[in-house]
Structures are given as structure tokens and as C-alpha cells.
Point group: C2
Chain length 427, copies 2
């Protein structure tokens, strides 16, 4: 297989690079160079090609998947479709309930955008199901599951390479308020604690590299030790993991494997910018993929909003890829409506940050909406709005007295009044 990064390094502009460069209105040579340097990645799934990284628009990921208690594949496929309709850039299948192979295949098959996964979930769950314990999990099992995912057409996998025995030593000091909150992180920490062995994704990182090369699989280096509350943010544990990920990036640099770095989590507003800059600096400018950041712990039911705040600031500071968070985070498996709210909130954050980063296309989009609003062209406003379904729903649920205005100000619409006045005084 000829790897995307290999070709970029040779200065070859692949059709994938050409097409996204055109879509993003950037120079294809520059994009190829950025891919060669590991500062951008190309993620593909059939016809859907996305570039994530330096100078690109910020992308949004949607997590779907079953849980042990709520396991309905058709429900997850509905979420997938809704997320794609609302223009998610990627989806991740985080299923942990039901037949994981079947579910993954169905999601990959149905998805119109690249699919990511977290193979350690399946590896651990199969170990528990077969042998009753996590510690029965063998090193080979982990790599076998990763290969299964790659073969099925998964485009990127989260691998928690930074969770090591030395992390366990720090964890033992119990300085954290909420310990380990990443499911993958908890699986690996538990396995290490129970077996006394080093995390194979770290100790056998070369094998991971080999697998990634074999399938041109993107490795998304997970943050299994991300803070689960504001008080734990930017602590020793989180920073140690980041430094380990930085070493992994160095090791993989010459292997032509595409890498993404995952980041926190729960982070106070004022620590987001330094977190983004640190991650970029430690990891050689690799594309940064953030979950949230959630900027306060007190808003369960609204974590799409706490994340949109954090994501916008992070994106502005340089994050490249935002994982959505839904209103049901910390409470339940999301509903279709939750998925909808989550995707839109993340897209708002990404777009607001794109504008702040000086992306001309993003700015022009807002200017078009401003123009439609000024003209009170409701049809055009609906077409341009981030979720036309929602726009229509709100406007059509209201008594519309005049087609020219909305019923918030009605005949006292400022824009309408200014129009009239200016006409009257001949301006």
C-alpha cells in the first residue's frame, strides 16, 4: 500500500490532497507539505475525504454506539444519519454492547463520512465475556482487534499509548478528585494494575506502527488520563501522559504513519489556550483532537454548551478537530435530539473559531447570512442557517403577522424601521 504521508513526503499531490485543497481553498502543495511534516492528516472513507490540521477548517466528530444497557443498532444508525445530515466530518463507533463486529460493520457500511473507533473497548469486553476478567486479555488480542477494525474499513483508531506503568505510580498517590474518567484509560490502567505488565500500546508501539502502515490507518493517540473535572486539569498525570505521547510522535515520525493527538477533557477557560499550545509544542504540531473542553462541571444536561465554549476557545488557539459532547453527557446514552444538539453546538464552536483564525470562506458565510437578515429574506436565512430544520421549526411554530418581519419585534423591527426612515428622508 502506498501511504498518504509517503506520497506527501515525495511531493506527490494525490487526488485526495487536491480535492480537499480545492474544497478548503488552500494551496495543494502547502497541504501536501503539511501532511509530510505530520501537521495535517488526510482521512478517507470511500468518496468522503477530509483533511484535519494546520490552516484547515476545524473538523467535528460525532460519537455514536451502543452501551451494555441500551443496545439498538437501528437507533445508532439513525444517529449516524442525523449527524451526517448536520454535516459532521467524522463519526466514531464507541459501541460497548451487543455484537461489536456486526455493529461496527453496519456503521462503517452506512456512514458517508470517515469512521473512527476505540479497539481497546472490544478487546477488553471480549476478554471479560470469554474469560470473566480484564487480566485475561493478552497482548495479541489487542493488536488483533485493531487489525479487525482496520480491515473493516475504520479510518482512524484511538490508541491510549500514553497510559503507562509510570502513570499508575502517579495515580497511586491519589492526588486527583476524579481519578481516571476515560473508559479506555480505565481499561488499560486496570489491566496494568492487575497484571503488573506495561501497556502493550506503549511497550509495543512499533507493532502498532506496523499495523497502521499496513492499512494506512490513522493513529489517534488517546488521552486516557484526561482530567474528569476542572480541579484535575493540567496536572502531573495529564502532563506526563502528554510527554509520553510526544515521544510516540517522535518515534513514528519517519514511519509515514498519520497521527492525531487527543486532548482533554474538563479544563477551566483560562487553561485552555496553554493546554492547546503545550500539546502542539510537545507533539511537533500534530493535529489536535479535543473532547470539549468542558469549562465547568456543574452543568450536566448542558454539556454541549460547556463544550462549545471550550471548543471555540481551543479551536481559536489552534485545535484542529473537535469531538462533540451531547446534553446527555455524564447522564445517559444520547438520544437522536441529543446527537443533533451536540453536532450543531460543536459546529458552531468550530465555525466561530474558523472565523477568529481568519478563514475567509467562514467569514464570507456569515456575511451572506447578515445580508439575508438585513433584507429580511427568510427563505435565504433558512437555507444558510446551520440547522435549517430547526430554523423552520421555530419560525413555523409562531404566528407570523407579516412576512417581512418576525414576531419578536413585529412592526417595531429595527431594520424595517430604518429602511422606512431612510427612504422617507431620501437617504
Amino acid at each position: 500500500m502506498i501511504l498518504e504521508k509517503q506520497q506527501a513526503k515525495k511531493g506527490i499531490i494525490t487526488s485526495a490532497v487536491r480535492s480537499v485543497a480545492k474544497e478548503e481553498n488552500i494551496d495543494a502543495e502547502k497541504l501536501a507539505m503539511s501532511i509530510a511534516e505530520g501537521k495535517s492528516v488526510i482521512v478517507k472513507h470511500r468518496d468522503s475525504i477530509k483533511a484535519i490540521g494546520e490552516n484547515l477548517t476545524i473538523k467535528v466528530n460525532t460519537n455514536i454506539g451502543t452501551s451494555p444497557d441500551v443496545c439498538d443498532v437501528s437507533f445508532e444508525l439513525k444517529k449516524l444519519n442525523r449527524a451526517c445530515e448536520l454535516k459532521t466530518d467524522t463519526v466514531m463507533d464507541l459501541s460497548t454492547g451487543g455484537n461489536l463486529d456486526t455493529i461496527r460493520k453496519k456503521i462503517v457500511n452506512a456512514s458517508s463520512v470517515p469512521v473512527g473507533s476505540v479497539p481497546i473497548y472490544q478487546a477488553v469486553i471480549e476478554s471479560i465475556e470469554k474469560h470473566g476478567t480484564i487480566e485475561a486479555l493478552k497482548e495479541d488480542d489487542i493488536f488483533d482487534v485493531i487489525e479487525r477494525h482496520a480491515k473493516d474499513g475504520v479510518s482512524f483508531v484511538t490508541v491510549h499509548c500514553g497510559v503507562t506503568l509510570s502513570s499508575l505510580d502517579i495515580l497511586k498517590k491519589k492526588t486527583r478528585k476524579t481519578g481516571v474518567v476515560s473508559r479506555g484509560g480505565a481499561f488499560i490502567v486496570s489491566w496494568m494494575a492487575l497484571t503488573g505488565k506495561e501497556n502493550p500500546l506503549y511497550s509495543n508501539f512499533d507493532r502498532l506502527i506496523e499495523l497502521a502502515r499496513k492499512y494506512d490507518l490513522i493513529l489517534s493517540l488517546g488521552d486516557g488520563l484526561r482530567p474528569g473535572c476542572l480541579a484535575d486539569a493540567t496536572d502531573n498525570l495529564q502532563m506526563s501522559e502528554l510527554l509520553t505521547l510526544g515521544r510516540c510522535v517522535e518515534k513514528a515520525r519517519d514511519a509515514d504513519v498519520q497521527l492525531i493527538i487527543e486532548g482533554p477533557g474538563h479544563v477551566p477557560l483560562n487553561q485552555i489556550v496553554p493546554n492547546v499550545h503545550l500539546a502542539k509544542s510537545i507533539c511537533g504540531g500534530a493535529p489536535l483532537y479535543l473532547l470539549g473542553p468542558i469549562v465547568t462541571d456543574i452543568a450536566p444536561g448542558y454539556d454541549h454548551i460547556t463544550s462549545a465554549i471550550g471548543g471555540a476557545i481551543a479551536g481559536w488557539a489552534g485545535a484542529d478537530f473537535l469531538c462533540y459532547v451531547t446534553p446527555s453527557e455524564h447522564l445517559a446514552l444520547p438520544t437522536i435530539e441529543d446527537v443533533e444538539d451536540g453536532v450543531v453546538a460543536s459546529r458552531i464552536a468550530a465555525h466561530a473559531a474558523d472565523i477568529a483564525r481568519g478563514n475567509i470562506q467562514a467569514q464570507k458565510y456569515d456575511e451572506s447570512m447578515a445580508q439575508a437578515r438585513y433584507k429580511r429574506d427568510w427563505h435565504q436565512q433558512e437555507n444558510l442557517s446551520i440547522n435549517p430544520f430547526r430554523f423552520k421549526k421555530i419560525r413555523s411554530s409562531q404566528k407570523i403577522v407579516s412576512d417581512e418581519v418576525c414576531n419578536m419585534c413585529g412592526k417595531y423591527c429595527a431594520m424595517r424601521l430604518m429602511d422606512e426612515t431612510m427612504k422617507k428622508v431620501g437617504l
Copy 2:
């Protein structure tokens, strides 16, 4: 009447200052000094006393009120109650439909928090209703309406003192994409354009000061020329108005009148911090009251989120008072659910900014939630959450298999797993 600011200047610690200082866990003398300097204000309504400004927690305002097309007082009173339940700090009655005197009295009477208003609405509407035109409005009418509001117990009024004939000259150049989007601003600009006269709230600012002294009424200097889209942000018109407001602040400095400065509006992420710093610098550090800022124009239906992003950054940068924006902004008069979403989104922004500003109480609140979450104490999480009603609704709508976890991860809950593992290995 002995004015709150007069007493602060004399070094007298009033009971109002003492009580809010205690509530905010700050020094009463320092708060009094800040009020004397015009950097904080005390807003009162019966037993409800709020301080807004320097070193204080960021406050949230809820707009309610009828429109010409949707005029139902009981509906507005329901919104008021819901906003108060969700801990709004103030409400503003922006009614423009029905009997405005009656509606205002009912709202002031029913409100458990201080009430603000925008008297120019009523002045103009009465002119249109009586005489058929805006230009029939007399200078005295404006001040009469303001006095009526003060007599009824309104605690603060928005007065657009910075919209002047010189603004009209800039407007004539038509450099803006969306012109004037403030209702009050459009009323005053139209009146000036049609009569050729200067804005009385500017030319007769002394009369306004007299009225404010008479009733210890807080003047909230409105931004009638705020940008209505990102492309119009931080432009000549907006900055000219801000400079005029700065001169008003100087003029009022010795009159012992409490002042607030209102700010935009639609502002790109990267222009929010400079906007806050400019407003603070030009207006002598007066408390800054922002609407939004909305960080993208393309999300009608989600402007509570676009505003929460902007509000959090603005609060972090020094804004003191956030006016909520609801999901129906730009589309319709808000429903009860819209009010709920708007209040919570603004409170999230304010709280996230409080934490970033180093407020210890705010940080401790999040630590309590983190602790409850770590213990999987669902009852305590509900109590602590920003909207316990929503928390309960989401959790109770789901199949709960184990009381110990939620159905997002179920038995694979990271925190539960870590507990088990640590116990097993004796840590």
C-alpha cells in the same frame, strides 16, 4: 433620597453593601470603594440586592416582555417565574405590545429580582399610537416615561445616550452590512433623521442625571449602534458611540448616579477581548453589560450557544453583566423553554468566566460536583446541577439498570471500574 453611591463615597457601609459583600465573600469596605469609584453598582428590588462590577461574580439578565404580535401578560409572568427559579439576577421588561403601564407594573410587582426597562420603547410607541408618527414625540415625553418607570419601581433603565446626530452622519455613508439593529437605537436614529434634532438623552443628559438622582435609578447607557453582524463589529459607528458614552460617564461622575455601560452584540471571537478592554478603558471601569456577544451569524435557533461562547470569553476578559439570548433570537418571541435555555446558557458562561477569573467560591462549587460525580452520588449531582429539573428529566427518562452508574457506559463506567481495580490490588 440618600443615594447608594453618595454613601459609598462617604465611606458609609450600607446594609445593602454589607449583605452583598457577605454573599460574595468579599470585603465590604472594598466594595463600597468600588461603588464610590463607579466601578461597581448596587441594584435593589425590595429584598433582592445585587452588586454588579469589579471583583464580583458575573450577573445574568433575562429579557421578557410582550411584542405587538404576541401579547399575553400571563405568559410573560410565567417566563419571569421560570427565570427567577433558574436564578437570573435581574429581568428586563422589553414589552412593546398591549397596555405597557399595566404590564410593567405587573412584572415589577411579581418579580423577586431587580427589574430594568427601556423607556424609549414606550415613548415612541405612545407617540405612534397617539399621533401616528415617531416625529410627533416630544422631548418631555421621553423624560416623562422614564420618570413613570422609576416611580413604578424599575431599578435600572437603558438610555441610548450615545446615539447622536454625528452617528447619523456616519450612518449616511452606508458602510454597514446590517445598519442599526437595536430597537431603541433605530427609534432614536429615526426620530433624529425625521426631526433634524439632537437626541435628547444626549443633549439633555443633565436632565437624565437629575431624574436618576431623584429615584436612585441606575442608568444603563445603551448601545443603540451595536453591530448586528460580525462584519459590522468594532467599526467606526460602534466606536464613536462608545466614545460618546465615555464622555457621559465623565459628566455623571460627580453626580453620584450609578452607571452601567452596555456593549455588543455580534462580535467575532478574536475581537471580544479588545472590545471589553476598550469599553472598560473608555468608560472609567464602569460595570460592563453585554448582549451576547454572538460569535457567528449563521446559527439562528442556537443563539443561546453562540452567546454563551461570547459571554464566557467576555466575562473572563472583564465583563460584569451578561444579558441572556434565547434560541429564538432573530426568529420569534421566546417561549418558556427558550427562556429556560437562555438563562441556563448565560449562567454557564458567567460561571465558567467566574472560575477563570479566580473566584474561589465558583471553583469550590465545581469541586463539590466533581466529588459527587466521583462517588456516583446521583442525588447530590442533581442538587448541585445548574438546572436540577433538566438533570432529573434526562436521568429519569432512561432505563436505569444500576443505581451506581448511568446508562452511557453502564457496567463499563470508568470510575466504577477504577474503584474495583484499586480495591482488588489493595490501593
